[in-house]
């Protein structure tokens, strides 16, 4: 990448004769209260939109593009109100600055399947403000009333007068932004709600898209880091003699808990790293073993944890239940395994620092980098590159991969790009935590649940992070029980007890696409399926009866079942299973059709119904559902990290398999435009695929598989 060119583009913003719309909508503010921009020209850091003299429209994204399509979706919001020519719209990642803080979460970040719903007002307002200023600029030029002017397709028209946005941008910029704008009635939308293809396709099909790992500039060195081989191990002495002999290796520097080899290029750095001789201390207590840990979790699951839900007299009702079911479900640690291994480039220049990386967590990275360097956050510039997958791994409260790169660049005294190998990435921690659920369900004489006793055991993701104070309530990490504490099935059950154990371990954990729902959905939808079977009822009819008070869940499930042909038997040797789950404000139902081939589970089709309220771009929603199915299916069929002595045994895609082309089912997505409050789509289809498949496997084989990944016996 040509940094000088990028820098030029950036700096040209301040001098170009273009319109810069910049303002900040305070949290919770209504559109009419949008703050006007100060009269003086604002720095580009405050801008959401630029209109160039060449009619180009550049939207600055407060959210990172990691595949989910915000690069297109947020631009659609601006363009809808701006009435510009869609073919002239381009996007750029915004720099890290307070003005780009997430409208709800308060820091600049991408996550929680929130970009679309959280920015829906702000980005449309940006477009509306700019249109207002362009019209007023045109009216002043022609000496007519703005009311006579009409803006469409990037052109303002009044009678015979006509000027493109590019020709009006400079004059518009000199005007005071409006105090309030009226957003369009959804009925008048031309772009929103339609199937719009992605704006980032041209660069991503020609190899021109720049990811963090692609950052190159003169003087930039590449580092590969030796990190502790086991969680809990610490750096002892190291000998860099052999590493320094590798051609291309220039420096060897210690990090916080490792050793970095800095070289001319990746290959030399990797050979150098592999040639290091390091004494690592053994982890305290010998380190975690998966088998032992799971036995401990199962034992804990037989004891009550911290109270999450407690309603009715569970023990009494359970004692009087006609049928009692007890099941335990088990979930391993999972790596995110994004296609692009972690990396981060850092250049330190006096009291300034520049960072190039694919990150979901700009504000946190900026603050942590500034602390390491002893400078203020505003002195840290973050260039957000395309993310070669995020899935939560690139939103780390510890900023591990950024912090380490800053430390290496500082120690090396040269600009450095730290690149992780696949093995480094897979063994580097911050996993979806391992969990065990134990459920006791008491059913009445009609087979309906009347008592539910549920114990969850697994590490908290937010304990010990800066988010603990904000998110933890009464010792409960809400991400450990999301999708369970609020399960519709428990709402319709009279006596419910849910409790949580959050053991602390040396294994770093993190949010993983769909977070807690990845295990709660499986436990709930498997147990409900078990209950339906125990009641001798059809899985669909059983669920529909329980979801009477949940019309959106019921509608999604009914639609998926109908489209999957639930009422007609599948082909011989196949069976179907279902699951419905609400997360991130959206409801997803899947029906999976499976067979067993050569002892392996084969998923042929997945029929999905999705209610995300309003689908801003159905083409993108469908892509997210297809992708979430693949991601969730990888966990259902393959995903498992195994620890021995605190060391992760898996290392690469040969022993941590993921879904490949031949595993991929045909996925059909049906959208429900319910008009309900808008939800997210990046994650919600991930969690319910595993239980849908497991329930289908049960229907086919009568084997109830209660551990992920699913393994037939």
């Amino acid at each position: 990448m040509t940094l000088t060119r990028r820098d030029l583009l950036r700096t040209s913003v301040t001098s170009a004769a273009g319109l810069v719309v910049a303002f900040h909508v305070p949290h919770g503010a209504r559109v009419a209260q949008a703050q006007p921009a100060p009269a003086a020209a604002l720095p580009p850091a405050n801008a959401f939109l630029r209109i160039g003299a060449d009619d180009s429209v550049t939207v600055l994204l407060a959210h990172s593009e990691m595949g989910q399509g915000s690069w297109t979706g947020l631009a659609m919001m601006v363009a809808e109100e701006l009435e510009c020519d869609w073919s002239k719209v381009r996007c750029e990642h915004a720099p890290a600055a307070p003005v780009y803080a997430h409208p709800v979460f308060g820091v600049q970040m991408t996550g929680g399947s929130s970009a679309t719903w959280s920015e829906f007002e702000r980005y449309r307002t940006v477009g509306a403000i700019a249109k207002d200023m362009l019209i007023r600029a045109a009216a002043a030029r022609w000496k007519v009333s703005p009311a006579t002017c009409h803006a469409a397709n990037g052109v303002v028209t009044s009678g015979k007068n006509q000027l493109s946005y590019g020709k009006l941008a400079a004059a518009a910029m000199a005007l005071t932004p409006p105090k309030a704008v009226q957003l369009k009635d959804p009925k008048a939308w031309k772009l929103l709600g339609t199937r719009v293809r992605r704006l980032d396709t041209p660069e991503k099909i020609t190899g021109q898209a720049k990811f963090g790992i692609d950052v190159q500039f003169p003087g930039l060195r590449v580092a590969v880091v030796a990190r502790p081989p086991a969680f809990g191990a610490k750096l002892g002495k190291f000998d860099a003699t052999e590493a320094m002999k590798v051609a291309g290796v220039e420096k060897v520097v210690p990090t916080a808990n490792g050793v970095a080899v800095v070289a001319k290029h990746f290959w030399a750095a990797k050979l150098g790293r592999d040639a290091l001789k390091i004494d690592w201390t053994a982890p305290e207590g010998g380190g975690i073993d998966t088998t032992k840990q799971m036995a401990e979790f199962h034992a804990k699951a037989r004891t009550k944890g911290d109270s999450v839900v407690d309603k009715g007299k569970v023990d009494d009702v359970m004692a009087g239940a006609k049928t009692k079911l007890v099941s335990e479900y088990e979930f391993p640690y999972l790596a995110h395994a994004s296609m692009e291994p972690l990396n981060c480039a850092v250049k330190i220049d006096g009291d300034r620092c520049e960072i190039w990386t694919g990150t979901q967590f700009q504000s946190v990275d900026q603050i942590i980098a500034s602390k390491i360097l002893g400078i203020t956050p505003d002195k840290v510039t973050i260039h957000t590159m395309f993310l070669g997958g995020g899935f939560g791994r690139r939103a780390n409260p510890t900023s591990d991969f950024v912090a380490e790169a800053v430390i290496v660049a500082k120690a090396a005294g040269v600009p450095v790009k730290v690149v992780w190998t696949r093995e480094d990435d897979m063994r580097g921690g911050y996993y979806r935590p391992a969990y065990v659920h134990r459920i006791q369900a008491g059913l009445d004489d009609q087979g309906r649940p009347i008592a539910w006793d549920h114990v969850v055991v697994g590490q908290s993701i937010i304990a010990g992070t800066p988010f603990e104070g904000m998110m933890m309530k009464h010792g409960i990490d809400p991400t450990s029980v999301e999708g369970l504490a609020d399960s519709p099935y428990l709402e319709s059950t009279g006596a419910v007890r849910v409790s949580l154990h959050s053991p602390k371990t040396a294994i770093p954990v993190l949010w993983w696409r769909s977070v807690g729902n990845t295990h709660t959905s499986f436990a709930m939808e498997s147990m409900i399926d078990e209950a339906a079977h125990a009641a001798g009822q059809d899985p669909l009819a059983y669920r529909m009866a329980l979801l009477k008070e949940k019309p959106r869940h019921a509608a999604a499930l009914a639609l998926a079942a109908d489209k999957a042909g639930w009422s007609t038997p599948p082909a011989a040797g196949r069976a179907r299973g279902m699951a419905v789950h609400e997360s991130f404000g959206s409801i997803v139902a899947h029906v999976a059709e499976v067979s067993v081939e050569h002892g392996r589970i084969r998923v042929h089709t997945v029929t999905s119904a999705v209610d995300c309220g309003t689908a801003v771009n159905p083409l993108a929603v469908e892509a997210q559902v297809q992708g979430s199915v693949a991601y969730g299916l990888s966990a259902a069929l393959y995903g498992k990290l195994t620890l021995a002595g605190g060391k992760v045994q898996e290392s690469n895609f040969h022993d941590y398999p993921v879904v490949r082309m031949h595993d991929m089912p045909k996925v059909t997505v049906h959208l429900i435009q319910s008009g309900a409050k808008m939800g997210g789509v990046g994650e919600p289809a991930t969690a319910p695929i595993a239980p849908a498949v497991a329930n289908a496997v049960f229907a086919l084989t009568k084997q109830r598989l209660r551990s992920l990944p699913l393994k037939l016996v």
Binding site: I205, T206, H265, M339, F386, S634
Partner: protein
């Protein structure tokens, strides 16, 4: 040594065992070819040697000889290659990181099998991992690219 890459011959100073991937990326600056696994498991580094798809991450540069190296940048820079056009039409990409490899594998597949069946697509593309799960649209795009390559209507 000399490397014939994307139509021009470049002089590179690299150790014999250095994988072609890192020569392409770090020494020649063609960053469209990606690093994903380093052991021929994911296909992100797929390039062509005389039209044959290879995993550049496990191909020592010294073994390339005078074979012609073609990377994604050598396909077309404006997205006009039929496979690229099909990818755009089917709106395949998500994060995009694996797509250079997916496209290069597909180009080689279509050269061999102009109208591949689903099982031939499975066989050819199972070596290319996509964590975003764009497989459904990749399959659609491969069929579309086959039609475009044959000059058929969309």
């Amino acid at each position: 040594m000399k490397l014939d890459i994307n139509g021009s011959v470049r002089e590179v100073d690299a150790p014999a065992e250095m994988p072609l991937l890192w020569v392409i990326r770090d020494l020649l600056g063609f960053t469209g070819t990606k690093f994903g696994c380093g052991m021929a498991q994911c296909g992100a580094c797929t390039v062509h040697l005389d039209g044959q798809p290879v995993r550049a991450c496990v191909t020592p540069v010294s073994t390339v000889g005078n074979r012609k190296v073609r990377t994604i940048e050598g396909l077309s820079t404006d997205g006009s290659h039929p496979v690229q056009r099909a990818w755009a039409e089917a709106d395949v990409v998500q994060c995009g990181y694996c797509q250079s490899g997916q496209i290069m594998t597909t180009v080689a597949l279509l050269a061999e099998k102009p109208d591949p069946s689903d099982s031939e697509i499975d066989a050819a593309l199972s070596g290319n991992i996509c964590r975003c799960g764009t497989y459904v649209r990749i399959r659609e795009a491969v069929h579309l690219a086959a039609r475009l390559s044959r000059g058929g209507a969309k």
